[in-house]
Each structure stands twice: as C-alpha cells, then as structure tokens.
C-alpha cells in the first residue's frame, strides 16, 4: 500500500554552473541563471510503502511522518537561499531534479523500517513542473 504526505516550503535559488560562462549559463538556464537568485513555493509529496499493522490498522504513524518531513526537510529548506544555506547546493545545482534526489537522501535513513519504506519523492517547483525520484534502484 502507498501513502502520500504533502508538505510545503518556500526557498530561493540560482541555477548556474560555475564552470560555464555567463552567456552559456543564460543559454542553458534562462532566467533561472539570474545571479541574484529567485524563489518558488515548493510542494513536496513523499510516498511511503508498507502493509497496515493488523492491530492499529495503520502502515505508520502519520504524525511521526509529518514530524520527520518537518525536521529533515522543511525546517532545513524553508525560507532559505538554497545555494548558500543548504548543502549540497553550495556545489550541486539546485534544479528540481537535484532537490528531489537530496530530499530522498535526507529521508531514506528515517523511512526504511518494516512499516513504512520510502517509495518516492515528488517535488513541484511550480504547479506545472514536478520531478519524481524513486531512489537509485529505479
């Protein structure tokens, strides 16, 4: 069974590769290369997989999942300049692809028990663009 919990955070970022010239960055990333940064209201959907406990009828404690998302992601990402304040984005470009992978890496150690195993991370950069990551086995 799959269970999805949603969380939101707002953050700023710059998408540019320091190994490329200004014009190459503009060509590759468009407006997202603006060196002053810009921001988004990100929406995160985290999906866990598991079987309901026969006694509680629950796969996992949703309150605990909410606290894990808050502690491991929202408190770290919310109202931050990702490139400057949230590693690894001091050296990894904070595209939604890399953000999905980073959030997976942050959550996976906490969601790998017999009840509730991390299945997927979906991050919406805007309502019209989202990225799914299902781990390195996918």
């Amino acid at each position: 069974m799959l269970i999805t919990r949603k969380a939101e955070f707002s953050a700023s970022h710059i998408c540019r590769n320091p190994g490329l010239s200004e014009s190459e960055n503009r060509e590759l990333f468009g407006a997202a290369a603006n060196p002053h940064g810009h921001g988004h209201n990100y929406v995160l959907e985290v999906t866990v997989e598991g079987a309901p406990d026969p006694v509680t009828g629950m796969v996992l404690d949703l309150k605990a999942l909410k606290e894990t998302l808050n502690r491991e992601v929202v408190e770290i990402y919310d109202h931050r300049f990702l490139n400057r304040e949230v590693p690894p984005f001091d050296h990894v470009i904070p595209t939604p692809e890399n953000i999905a992978i980073d959030i997976w890496n942050r959550l996976q150690p906490h969601l790998n028990g017999p009840r509730g195993r991390l299945h997927g991370v979906r991050i919406y950069e805007t309502p019209d663009l989202y990225v799914d990551y299902f781990g390195d086995a996918a």
């Binding site: 590769n17 470009i93 890399n98 990225v131 799914d132 990551y133």
Partner: protein, 147 residues
Amino acid sequence: MIGLVEVTRKYRFSASHRLHAPQLGPAENRELYGKCNNPFGHGHNYEIAVTVRGPVEALSGRAVDPELLDGLVRRQVLEPFEHRNLNEEVAAFRTAVPTSENLGREVLRRLKQNWLAVFPAGGVRLERVAIAETSRNAFEVSAHEIE
C-alpha cells in the same frame, strides 16, 4: 550511483470536438455519447501532463531542458490543437473519434514520432502522457503502448 528521475510538465489548450462514431446509427450515438454527440460540437479546456525519464546530467543538473520539451509540445500539440475544432482540423480525428483516450494517444504519437529530432538517442526518454478533458477525468497513456 544515482537513479533516473521523472520530470513532468503540464500544458493547456482549449478545443472543440464532437463524439460520433460513423459506424453507429444516430440513436446509438446519442445513447452512447449523450451530450457529447451534439451535432454542433462543444469544447473543453484540456490539460496535458508530459512525463519524461532520464539521468540527471552533471553539466546542467537536469534530466531534460524544459525549453526543448516546451518547444516540441508547442509545435506538435499546442499549435495544431489550440482553439481548433479537433474533428475538422486535426487529420487523425477525421477517422478516429476524438475521445480523451484517442486524444491522449495522438498527443503521445506526435511527441514520440518527433522525439529524436529534439533529444538524442540514449538520453532522456518519453515516458507517458496524461490528459484531462475536465478536472473530473484523467487518462494516462504510456509510451510503450504507442508505435
């Protein structure tokens, strides 16, 4: 080792259509398609979601250049479909009924047939297309279902 990511981008267009199967009689068509069989046609604000799958490139940190994807979808789908009568103005729907099922397949077919002109072989792949005629219905077609 980093796995593959899926990137999904949503687009919108508005178009009119009429659901009518020429193999069936007038009464059967009315029975089957209801209001959608109105001979004068009717329209929708369509929303499509295009999902691609690929590795994250080190240079860009991305799996797909959204501008390239937007350009392909604009040329192959949005421009030919936007504010059109699908039955009259899109060749595929002269023979196929423009249901959401067939529309989803046509969108996917157009993107798949023109994919390699934009994205090199061995890179990011077209995975699936979802289409919603209204917010109450959703249809999804996977790339492997279409030639």
